[in-house]
């Protein structure tokens, strides 16, 4: 490591990084042992945001748990909602209508853009580029207003339901989304001019936190982090779900597996998400949004508040032991969330509540590789690596 023969060896220094640190994006903690500025050893600690989601899932019915999934990866709640209900629908063995699938895809891809925008802003902020954060949040605010008009909430959307959606999209949704789609590539272009060929940015990110393709699979990497290492693996292509096979899009692949490649992959993914949304809007089918099964779908709000049959129907589904009751069995359903493979493993004992819900969190698995990526590097690379992995504490600790 140290090529200078005259260098006086010193005592290693222990540095505590987190759990409250501006560059940890939440509550991570890494204890690093330093020799000068070189990282000798890094020990991550986690659990500072452990909330007991999996235990809570055993005490809530299937629709109630959607609310909890919002708070897992809070940068893109719609993707979590989506992944979870897909698992329950697989357990129930039902197929939602095409319109519902398309709307879910549109919103999941928009929240991928929203997620990557925050990642971009915060990652750049950690390396000293403040402007990019303001640009990223400006685009995100536009998405927030679309989400709010659609779901009623900016952040904690809880929009999907088992077997459908909370409600249909509003009039003018298409125009709003198209306006956004036309606008955001301009911001990305500006960011490209700010960062991509920027000397400082390249020096801070190129060759930093390198993960080879082999190591990436060994460490269980998924999503943009795996693809930046040069592995062509995207669940939307490999195991298409929810009509993803109907859309044309490219999967960007990196070559070196360093921070810079992860940055480029994510930047391109946003453009590709925009392409998917455009195609979905062009071909958005008409029709119902919920499955035609009165034992699963809730009645509309007008019915529930307007007539006694609707009220009874609503009550029956919401009441414990009468609503969604999947058959005994187990299911593992993985979706391509913005950070990687988000899997839900659900064991049902035939009652209205899951017997066990296990969430396979991409952040947890990526965080495990942090010592491998920073040991031997400089102390200032830690923030660059953490920023590039986009570790979300809510998903990390659950």
């Amino acid at each position: 490591m140290h090529k200078d023969p005259d260098r006086v060896p010193g005592e290693p220094m222990t540095l505590n990084f987190g759990p409250q640190h501006p560059a940890t994006h939440g509550t991570l903690r890494i204890v690093v042992e330093l020799d000068g500025e070189t990282v000798l050893k890094a020990t991550p600690h986690l659990g500072y945001l452990h909330t007991g989601f999996e235990k809570l899932g055993e005490h809530q019915d299937y629709n109630q748990f959607i609310v909890v999934t919002d708070r897992m990866n809070y940068l893109s709640p719609l993707s979590n909602n989506f992944g979870y209900v897909l698992a329950v629908e697989k357990l129930l063995d039902i197929q939602v209508p095409k319109r519902c699938e398309y709307i879910r895809v549109i919103l999941a891809e928009l929240s991928r853009i929203a997620d990557h925008m925050v990642w971009l802003g915060m990652g750049a902020l950690d390396l000293g580029a403040f402007t990019v954060m303001l640009y990223g949040f400006e685009e995100r605010e536009k998405l927030y207003s679309i989400f709010e008009k659609t779901t009623g909430a900016r952040l904690t959307t809880s929009y999907t339901r088992v077997g459908g959606l909370m409600r249909d999209i509003y009039d003018g949704f298409e125009e709003d989304v198209r306006r956004f789609l036309n606008g955001f590539p301009k911001t990305l272009k500006e960011v490209h001019t700010l960062l991509t060929r920027n000397r400082i940015w390249m020096d801070r990110t190129k060759g930093v936190g390198v993960v080879s393709a082999e190591d990436a699979i060994d460490y269980g990497f998924t999503g943009p982090c795996l693809r930046a290492s040069g592995v062509d693996w995207d669940l939307r292509k490999a195991e298409p779900y929810s009509s993803y096979e109907a859309f044309n899009f490219d999967v960007p692949i990196g070559a070196n597996g360093d921070v810079y490649d992860r940055y480029l992959v994510r930047m391109e993914e946003m453009i590709q998400s925009g392409r998917i949304v455009r195609q979905a809007l062009d071909n958005l089918p008409d029709g119902p949004i919920n499955v035609d099964d009165y034992k699963i779908s809730l009645p509309t709000k007008e019915d529930a508040y307007g007539n006694i049959e609707g009220l009874i129907h609503h009550f029956k589904i919401v009441m414990d032991g009468h609503g969604v009751q999947p058959p005994v069995g187990e299911v593992y359903c993985a979706t391509e969330a913005p950070n990687g493979e988000l899997g839900f493993y659900i064991v049902s004992d035939g009652s209205g509540k899951a017997y066990r819900i296990r969430i396979r969190p991409p952040s947890f698995i990526h965080f495990q590789a942090v010592p491998h990526m920073i040991e031997g590097g400089m102390v200032s690379d830690i923030v660059a690596v953490l920023g590039s992995l986009n570790i979300i504490a809510g998903e990390l600790d659950r």
């Binding site: 939440g26 500072y48 909890v68 809070y74 925050v118 949040f137 809510g394």
Partner: protein, 166 residues
């Protein structure tokens, strides 16, 4: 007293309390203790659309020793609570605390084995913000409420808020 008439237009007289509080309330330095979803809304509050700097509270300091307003935003687990307490203790007086969102205030929807059911059991809280998560406007409102509390402060130890209780 008639003194002001001698001073002309360039000099005002006021009390030292009012003068210090005016300075304090318009230059709050928040320490954002962001752990979960609320932290994202806090970031949105600081970003361009909502812009907390309009209220003089944009100088975010991640060092507790430099800040006077602690914003607890997000769920606090039993593993995190000692850290939060330590950060609160490190902040110099006078200091104020905002408990942002349902989780920090009451535990929210997470009534589970690991979550502290309200940080007010361990540190004093001045303003609670309801919501899961609260909107940026709510956080701005809370900062304005804190400014009102700051106005009541006094530089004299005898008249300081909470002096009677201690």
């Amino acid at each position: 007293m008639g003194l002001e008439s001698q001073l002309g237009d360039n000099i005002f007289t006021t009390t030292i309390d009012k003068f210090v509080n005016w300075g304090r309330k318009n230059s709050l330095w928040p320490m954002p203790f962001g752990t979960a979803c609320c932290a994202i809304e806090m970031m949105a509050t600081l970003a361009s659309k909502f812009d907390l700097s309009r209220f003089g509270a944009e100088a975010i300091r991640f060092s507790p020793r430099q800040s006077d307003l602690l914003i607890v935003s997000g769920r606090i687990s039993i593993k995190m609570m000692p850290v939060l307490k330590k950060i609160y203790d490190q902040m110099p007086d006078p200091k104020w605390v905002i408990s942002m969102g349902a989780c920090a205030s009451t535990g929210g929807v997470f009534d589970t084995y690991t979550l502290v059911q309200g940080v007010d059991g361990f540190i004093p809280v001045d303003i609670y913000i309801p919501g899961c998560p609260p909107r940026p406007e709510d956080l701005i409102d809370a900062v304005i409420q804190i400014q009102r509390i700051v106005e009541q402060e006094s530089v004299s130890p005898k008249r300081r808020r909470g002096a009677i209780a201690s």
